[in-house]
Amino acid sequence: MTSGLWELVLKGVWVTIQLLVCSALLAAAVSFVVGVARTHRLWIVRFLAGFYTEVFRGTSALVMIFWVFFVLPPAFGWQLVPLWAGTLALGLTYGAYGSEIVRGALTAVDPAQREGGIALSFTPWQRMRLILLPQAVPEMIPPFSNLLIELLKGTALVSIMGMGDLAFSGNLVRLALQESAEIYTYILLIYFVIAFLLTRVMRGLEKRLKAGVGKKPDSKTRAPEPVVVEAVR
């Protein structure tokens, strides 16, 4: 492979990382807002949040991307830059999965903690901010780590829309070289390395957060229950 082609691949890596960071931030915001809303005491709030989760988790990420790229612009009259369109589609979809993680971790906090908060006259929002979230967030990190890997894999979908990410650069190089095995092996390896680094970062984060709650991190590796194991509960 020539250095020009490598440059193409590096540009692809950069686009993939940008997309990953943006959509992870959006997904995290959606996860917390929707996940907390799903524990709200008003049924209408819980219902709307649950409806959001079912709809966005029910649909396919790729169909969602097509929808954002092709249906939104004529319908609402705004054409998004591809990066934002990809961020929107991925962030909303993976945020729905993330909201399940947030809800699950919040409901797993010992109900006695809530009672302790009531007995000290904390308002519901103070209980959430001071008691429930600080205890629930460290528990969310391992499933969020799995979800982040799924999101990384999901970013490859934007290449179908012609966005120049890592997967797309692989296609360009294949066309240039008329040879596939080498370039796709490299591309897969790069994804694998990014995934490995992400896992490492998340594990470090888990360790630090759990130390703050006086707990030890999970020693055994968990089965990835990303996107899916929660899908039914």
Partner: protein, 216 residues
């Protein structure tokens, strides 16, 4: 928003064709992932590192890299090696392989969840290994395994549209083709979007019922 019901009815014949292909991919892909996943899980239990290490690395690699790129790899590289399959066959195999790296962990967790005492009792009764597996361990593991496998089938459903990228005409492929021919994007894409939501919602209801029955 302009919504054209006639476009919907024009698209429906293509939709049914696409749905059929999607379900085909789902059924065969699931079967492949169930079988291959069990193979990986059993191989990982062998006492020799010469097997567990390579199997562990390969499955970890497949699980942590995008299915889409794996599809491209198989679709473009296999013919270079002289192996030619249809796009559908390649896609089904790729998705089955990808998900087998998840199902193997389901099997592992299911097997590990059977209490050690069960193994000890089987040994105490002098049951042969084959009988221990078939009569004691697996029947107890299935209960935990089935719901988790079902979840991965639903997840797989939502990944089937990727096969469009290697020219398989499943639901999304048909929707795109129709859109390009008629310059109507909204209707076919919305129809299949709703179809995915409905199918996965129904599937999750079905799975919940199954889970309840297995719990008894």
């Amino acid at each position: 928003m302009n919504w054209d019901w006639s476009a919907v009815s024009d698209f429906m014949p293509d939709f049914w064709k696409g749905l059929l292909v999607t379900l085909q991919i789902l059924v065969i892909g699931s079967l492949i992932s169930f079988a291959l996943g069990l193979v990986w899980a059993l191989l990982m239990r062998l006492p020799t590192r010469w097997v567990t290490w390579p199997v562990g690395v390969v499955t970890e690699f497949v699980r942590n890299t995008p299915l889409l790129v794996q599809l491209f790899f198989l679709y473009y590289v296999l013919p270079e090696w002289g192996l030619t399959f249809s796009a559908l066959a390649t896609g089904v195999f790729a998705i089955g392989l990808h998900y087998s790296t998840y199902t193997m962990q389901v099997y592992r967790a299911g097997i590990e969840a059977v209490p050690v005492g069960q193994w000890e009792a089987a040994t105490a009764l002098n049951l042969p290994l084959r009988r221990t597996w078939s009569a004691v361990i697996l029947p107890q593991a299935v209960r935990r395994v089935v719901p988790a496998l079902g979840n991965y089938v639903i997840a797989m459903l939502k990944d089937t549209p990727m096969l469009m990228a290697i020219s398989v005409l499943e639901m999304l492929g048909h929707a795109r083709l129709f859109s390009q021919e008629h310059f109507q994007f909204t209707e076919p894409l919305t129809v299949i979007g709703v179809a995915f939501i409905v199918i996965s919602y129904l599937a999750s209801l079905l799975l919940r019922a199954l889970e309840r029955r297995l719990a008894h």
